[in-house]
């Protein structure tokens, strides 16, 4: 596989073309909601990510669960595809699980190709392993995920 195809995996190109979660949705009544805007000054890419949480159903005191993630942004195929993958992957995860996933994604991207992706944990996000060899593009992939991390912290 050539270097370029290692970066632009079919999964990534598909998500860049047919994006999940694009278009900010108004939070439903009773849902906790957090939002974050991120900007990449190198290329001018930007994204706003909104995270909606619902109370967990495993009894009182249960951790809130991600109901949905919507976003709006402008950027390269890597950043848009990464946001789309996140919007598909996150619903149903607890806050703790999603934060752990974001951390796993970050470690993968920073690995410069030295880490084998945990496909079971990462799902479609594992396709971004190739991005880690293109240091200049790591920020692109992280843009929406960093926004989600911050939005989670802001959701009530």
């Amino acid at each position: 596989m050539s270097g370029l195809d290692g970066l632009y995996q079919e999964v990534i190109l598909d998500h860049a073309r047919r994006r999940s979660g694009e278009g900010l949705a108004d939070p439903l009544p009773g849902h906790a909601c957090g939002e974050s805007h991120q900007y990449n000054p190198t290329c001018g890419d930007e994204i706003t990510v909104r995270v909606e949480l619902v109370p967990g159903d495993s009894g009182p005191g249960a951790e809130p669960v991600v109901e949905r993630i919507t976003w709006e942004g402008q950027g390269c195929s890597i950043s848009m595809a990464a946001a789309s993958v996140l919007a598909e992957t996150a619903p149903g995860m607890t806050r703790t699980d999603l934060l752990a996933l974001i951390e796993e994604f970050r470690a993968l991207l920073r690995s410069r190709g030295t880490v084998e992706p945990d496909e079971e944990l990462l799902g479609d996000a594992a396709a971004f392993a190739g991005v880690s060899r293109f240091v200049a593009r790591v920020k692109c992939a992280m843009l929406g995920w960093v926004a989600a991390e911050e939005a989670l912290g802001r959701a009530g």
Binding site: S2, G3, L4, L7, Y8, L13, A16, R17, R18, T42, C43, G44, D45, Q74, G75, C76, S77, I78, F134, R137, C140
Partner: protein, 444 residues
């Protein structure tokens, strides 16, 4: 801008022949980096000289020769090596000043063009704070005064003026760019008026490649007694430029874009103005008499060169100038004019590609930026890079201009004397395949 070749001395004369193939081959041999391959193994096509140029062996050798045989602190010390180093340093100043039609009194070394613009803006600030006495009166700004720049500027010729306006209470205004991202003299006439004290503008846009009608803008500024500051970063490396002939009061350019090393740039100023201007950076080497309370300053240009100077860089930049002079700036300009035309024509005919700046057939340097429909500039650059073609992607330090064009980022190819028509064709061929790679234009 209005393509007025008769009024613009920067437009290359049509009678000068471009470089021949054998000349180009010889030139390319002086730049070993150009004959190499990229990390991916593809032969390198370097089309990012607008960001920084490659360096010929002669320039590298000149810097090494200085360190091997003549290195010492300049303008201090009485030993013979210090004299030799000082001579080399000042000879470099004469060479670089002469290259832009100026004298050595009119050329101040700076670290880069950005520092040169900041030097001017901070001198205005210091004058406004009362420094420089009566001679500095014309640099004092306050509420009601207007600083005029343009929407087509590099951030380096915008933000220092924003800051100066904020420090002095002056108002910042700008000449709007038109739909092509170029400057319309009629729009300039509406912005420049009685309150205008300083007009800062670019000679050649680093995004559109358009050549500004300098004479027209200088005339407007002179009518109202405003000082002019020219960003010549994209013109001095590529065109024959006579700064006093252009009639500007100040101009800046950088060494690394004209075959020289990083870490050196220059401020040109009319001698009378430089001598009247208070210093920006202060300290050693720029003073005459110092007491515990105050100091007196040397005349320009030394007044603006505090601290240890970039001696080896100045020497190497002078060698770069000699290299360019050896080929001839008119011929380099003719060569790049042809490359620019080839770029513009190839891009204008490409489906899904929008060429910003002057349309084909209009004057431009060897630089062209495009928006590729449905594909972000970073993705375009990545595909080109995999094929060995190095271009610049992003906003090129000109966010307001991109916003004006309705874009956030573009892909820019920029040439220099060492680029060939084949380089341009490789870029065009690779670019033509980009939309298909990303499925842009397909359904969904």
């Amino acid at each position: 801008m209005v393509p007025t070749s008769g009024r613009n001395p920067a437009v290359p004369s049509q009678t000068v022949p471009p470089l021949t193939d054998s000349e180009l081959r010889r030139i390319r041999e002086d730049f070993p980096l150009l004959t190499g391959t990229t990390v991916g193994g593809a032969p390198l096509v370097y089309l990012d000289s607008g960001a920084t140029s490659q360096k010929p062996l002669a320039v590298l050798d000149a810097e090494r020769e200085f360190y091997l045989h003549r290195n010492a602190a300049v303008h201090r010390g009485a030993h013979s090596l210090a004299v030799e180093a000082t001579d080399a340093y000042e000879e470099a100043r004469r060479t670089v000043a002469g290259f832009v039609g100026a004298t050595e009194r009119e050329l101040v070394w700076t670290s880069n063009a950005t520092e040169a613009i900041n030097l001017v803006t901070y001198a205005f600030s210091n004058a406004t704070a009362g420094r420089g006495g009566a001679a500095a009166e014309r640099f004092r700004l306050g509420p009601g005064d207007e600083i005029v720049t343009t929407e087509a500027e590099h951030h380096a010729n915008l933000i220092p003026w924003q800051e100066l306006a904020a420090r002095t209470g002056a108002t910042l205004r700008w000449i709007p760019a038109d739909d092509a991202g170029t400057l319309d003299p009629a729009a300039a006439a509406e912005v420049i008026g009685e309150r205008t004290r300083v007009l800062a503008f670019t000679h050649v846009s680093n995004v559109t490649g358009a050549i500004t009608d300098v004479a027209g803008l200088v005339e407007l500024a002179r009518e109202v007694g405003a000082l002019t500051v020219l960003d010549a970063c994209q013109s001095v490396p590529h065109l024959p430029v006579d700064l006093p002939g252009l009639g500007v009061d100040f101009a800046v350019f950088s060494g690394h874009k004209m075959l020289g090393p990083t870490g050196i740039g220059a401020l040109y100023g009319r001698a009378e103005l430089l001598d009247a201007m208070p210093p920006f950076l202060t300290g050693g080497s720029m003073i005459t008499r110092v007491t515990m309370e105050s100091a007196q300053y040397l005349p320009a240009p030394t007044r603006f060169e505090a601290g240890t100077q970039r001696v080896a860089q100045a020497v190497a930049l002078a060698e770069a100038v000699r290299y360019l002079q050896g080929i001839g700036m008119e011929r380099i300009a003719a060569h790049e004019h042809a490359l620019g035309a080839r770029l513009a024509e190839g891009l204008a005919g490409m489906e899904g590609v929008r060429l910003v700046g002057p349309p084909p057939g209009t004057d431009r340097v060897g630089l062209a930026a495009v928006d590729v429909a449905g594909v972000h500039a970073h993705d375009v650059g990545q595909v080109l890079d995999a094929a060995g073609v190095a271009v610049r992607v992003g906003h090129h330090c000109a966010q307001p201009l991109h916003r004006r064009l309705g874009l956030t980022a573009t892909t820019r190819a920029s040439t220099y004397l060492y680029n060939t028509a084949e380089d341009v064709d490789r870029f065009l061929a690779e670019l033509a395949g980009v939309r298909a790679y990303f499925g842009a234009g397909d359904d969904g």
